[in-house]
C-alpha cells in the first residue's frame, strides 16, 4: 500500500456556514475514521492540507467544515458539487473515549474549531448513556460567525447535553452571552478533578482557555488540545508538524496539556 496515494471521491454537497467557512459533504464514506482522527484532503494538482472530519463516524457521508485561509483552501472553495477531490487517511490517533466513560465531558470550541468537536459530540451522543453529561461551550466572533446554526436547535434538545454559546461582539438580534469564550467558563459545573476537557479553536483561544481550565483545577492530563500544525505527510516522517518530541500527525492531532506544557508557546 502506498501511504502517499489518496482515494478519489466527489463532493456531494456544499453548505456555506459563514462568509469564510463552508461544509463539504463527500460522497459515501471513502475512509473509515474515529472521532479525532484527521485526513489529508487534496485539490487535484494544487496540493494537500490536513482537516479533521466534522461528521459522525457512524454517518453515511463524510463531512468537513473548512475555513478559507490559505492557497489550498482558496482552491478548495472554488470547487463545485460533483467535482473530484482526493482524500488520504484516516491519520493520527482518535480521542481516547474510554477515558471519558462514566464521566462528564467538557467541550470548549472557538470559531471553526467547533468542526472536529461536532464529530466528537455526535460520537458521544451515539452512546450517550456511557457518559454522565456533555457540556459544550462555544464562542464565535459575531452571531454571523457561528457555524452549524441549523443544527443547534436539535442538539439543545438532546438529553444530557448542555450547550452555552457566546460571541465576542453581538448584534441587534443576538440575545445570548457576549464576550470571549473564557467569559462563559466562569462557572464550570463539573468535577474538575476527574472531567476531561476537550478544546479546539484558534491559537489565542486555545491558550487562554487552557489557562482558565488549569486555574479551574482540571488535571493537565485531562485537557485535550487539538494542535494546529503543518502536517504535510501526515504519517510521522516529513518532520514539519513536530512539537517537542511529538509528531502532531502521528502522536496527535490531539495532545494533552501535560504533553505540551513545557514547550514554549505550543499553540503558535
Amino acid at each position: 500500500m502506498n501511504p502517499y496515494e489518496p482515494v478519489l471521491t466527489k463532493i456531494k454537497k456544499i453548505i456555506p456556514e459563514t462568509s469564510t467557512i463552508t461544509t463539504f459533504i463527500l460522497e459515501g464514506m471513502p475512509i473509515e475514521f474515529q472521532a479525532g482522527q484527521f485526513a489529508e484532503l487534496s485539490v487535484l494538482g494544487v496540493g494537500e492540507a490536513p482537516f479533521t472530519p466534522s461528521s459522525s463516524p457512524y454517518a453515511r457521508d463524510l463531512e468537513f467544515t473548512i475555513m478559507k485561509v490559505g492557497r489550498m483552501t482558496q482552491a478548495l472553495f472554488e470547487l463545485k458539487e460533483d467535482d473530484t477531490i482526493g482524500i488520504r487517511g484516516p491519520l493520527g490517533k482518535p480521542y481516547p473515549l474510554d477515558n471519558f466513560k462514566k464521566k462528564d465531558v467538557f467541550i470548549v470550541g472557538g470559531g471553526v474549531g467547533f468542526a472536529p468537536l461536532r464529530s466528537l459530540l455526535l460520537t458521544l451522543v451515539e452512546n450517550i448513556t456511557d457518559y454522565k453529561k456533555i457540556f459544550i461551550r462555544y464562542g464565535a466572533r459575531t452571531p454571523k460567525d457561528i457555524i452549524y446554526k441549523y443544527l443547534l436547535p436539535e442538539w439543545v434538545k438532546i438529553k444530557n447535553v448542555d450547550i452555552l454559546l457566546t460571541v465576542d461582539v453581538g448584534d441587534e438580534e443576538w440575545k445570548g452571552r457576549v464576550g470571549v469564550v473564557t467569559t462563559i467558563l466562569d462557572q464550570i459545573p463539573v468535577d474538575v478533578k476527574t472531567t476531561p476537557a476537550i478544546v479546539c479553536g484558534p491559537p489565542l483561544m486555545m491558550k487562554f482557555t487552557t489557562q482558565r481550565l488549569v486555574e479551574a483545577g482540571f488535571k493537565d492530563s485531562n485537557i485535550y488540545l487539538s494542535m494546529e500544525k503543518n502536517m504535510s505527510c501526515g504519517i510521522g516522517k516529513c518532520n514539519h508538524c513536530r512539537v517537542g518530541k511529538f509528531y502532531v500527525c502521528k502522536d496527535g492531532p490531539v495532545l494533552t496539556w501535560k504533553d505540551v506544557k513545557d514547550i514554549e508557546n505550543p499553540f503558535v
Partner: protein, 334 residues
C-alpha cells in the same frame, strides 16, 4: 567471524560480474575528493576505498532529492532497480540506520524506500585515514562498520578482507567463491592494527564522545537561546541538504496530462516557512529557534525515540557551511 579474502587481482572481475545483474557504484578519487561514480564495463576502474566518505552522500540512492511518490488516478507503477553500493563508510551507514527507523520501522512503512532498500546491496569499507572534519567517534561510531551494510571490506596488503553481515552478503560471496580465499590470521591482525590506528587518529582529532546527557543540554540551550545563530548562520541550508541523516521533505502536487503526480522533495528545517501553517501562524519564525530545532532534532528528539543520535559525524555540514559553524564546537560549549 565470517571473513574472506579477495586478492587484489580479482577485484575487477568481481565487480564486473556484479555489474551484469545490477548497477554498481563505487568511490572514485578526483582532485583530492572521493565521488560516487557508476561502474561501466570496459571503462577504467580505479576505486579509492581508503579515502574518507564521498563528497556526495548515499541518501540519494534511497531517498532522492526529487521523487515521484504517487500518481493518480492512474496509480504509479515504478519499480526500483537493483543496485550495489561499494565503499560506503560507516558514517553514511548511520544515515541508512536513521532512514531504516523512519521509513521502515515507524508505521506506516514507506513502500518506495522499502523497495529500494530491498533491491540494494551495500558493501561498506573501513575508513583508515580520517581527516580533521571527521567526528564519527564523537557521536559514538567507529571508523569501520559492524553491521547495517551487507558486507564490509578492509584494504590490506594481500587484497580485500570481506566480512559478511547479512544473508545477501553471504550469497554474494557464495556466488563468486572461486574469486575468494579464506582469510588468514595475518590478514585479520593487519586489519585490527589499521583500525586501531584510525581510531587513535580520530581520538586525537575529537577527544570526547557525546553522552546521553547532551539531549538534556541541547534542550536547555534551546530554551535559553544559547549561541546566537543570527550572528553566524547565513541561512544557506547547505548543512541540511548535504546531511546524510536529515529526512525532512515536502509533498507537492503537479498536473501531468490526465494525472496528478505527487512529488516528494527534500526540505530544510532552516527555512522560515518550514513550520508555518495555512493561517499564517509560525512556531519557529526566528532563525535562533530554527537553529536549535535542528540540534534538538538530531541530539534530543531522535535520541529519545531510538537511543542513538541522528548525526553521523561525517563532517559534511561543517565542510559545506558558509559560516564554518562546527557542530562539535556548538555542542562543546554546552
Amino acid at each position: 567471524m565470517n571473513l574472506f579474502l579477495l586478492p587484489h587481482k580479482n577485484l575487477a572481475e568481481f565487480i564486473k560480474r556484479l555489474s551484469i545483474k545490477m548497477r554498481v557504484f563505487y568511490p572514485f578519487s578526483e582532485n583530492g575528493k572521493n565521488h560516487i561514480v557508476e561502474y561501466k564495463s570496459g571503462q577504467q576502474f580505479s576505486p579509492d576505498f581508503t579515502r574518507v566518505r564521498t563528497a556526495e552522500n548515499i541518501k540519494h540512492f534511497f531517498f532522492p532529492s526529487r521523487d515521484i511518490v504517487a500518481r493518480f488516478p492512474t496509480a504509479l507503477n515504478q519499480r526500483a532497480k537493483f543496485q550495489i553500493l561499494i565503499g560506503v563508510k560507516n558514517c553514511d551507514l548511520r544515515g541508512i540506520e536513521v532512514y531504516d527507523r523512519v521509513f521502515l520501522n515507524w508505521v506506516p512503512a514507506d513502500n518506495i524506500y522499502k523497495e529500494r532498500r530491498e533491491k540494494s546491496i551495500i558493501i561498506s569499507a573501513d575508513c583508515p585515514e580520517p581527516q580533521d572534519t571527521c567526528f564519527c567517534n564523537f557521536v559514538g561510531l567507529n571508523p569501520f562498520a559492524s553491521g547495517i551494510s551487507d558486507v564490509n571490506l578492509s584494504v590490506i596488503k594481500s587484497g580485500y578482507l570481506f566480512e559478511v553481515f547479512t544473508e545477501n552478503g553471504q550469497k554474494l560471496i557464495r556466488e563468486n567463491q572461486d574469486l575468494f580465499n579464506n582469510a588468514d590470521n595475518e590478514g585479520i591482525n593487519e586489519r585490527e592494527i589499521i583500525r586501531k590506528k584510525a581510531l587513535e587518529k580520530l581520538e586525537n582529532i575529537n577527544k570526547r564522545r557525546l553522552t546521553e546527557k547532551i539531549s538534556e543540554l541541547v534542550e536547555k540551550a534551546d530554551k535559553n537561546a544559547v549561541h546566537n545563530a543570527r550572528d553566524e548562520c547565513v541561512e544557506c541550508f547547505s548543512c541540511l541538504y548535504c546531511c546524510p541523516t536529515c529526512y525532512c521533505f515536502l509533498l507537492n502536487d503537479y498536473k501531468k496530462s490526465d494525472n496528478v503526480e505527487r512529488i516528494r522533495v527534500w526540505d530544510a528545517c532552516y527555512y522560515s516557512a518550514y513550520a508555518r501553517v495555512g493561517g499564517g501562524a509560525n512556531p519557529r519564525s526566528r532563525i535562533d529557534e530554527r537553529f536549535w530545532n535542528r540540534f534538538q532534532c538530531k541530539f534530543n528528539y531522535f535520541y529519545q525515540y531510538e537511543k542513538f543520535f541522528a548525526c553521523s559525524g561525517c563532517g559534511r555540514c561543517f565542510v559545506g557551511c558558509s559560516a564554518k559553524i562546527d557542530i562539535r564546537e556548538v555542542l562543546g560549549k554546552l
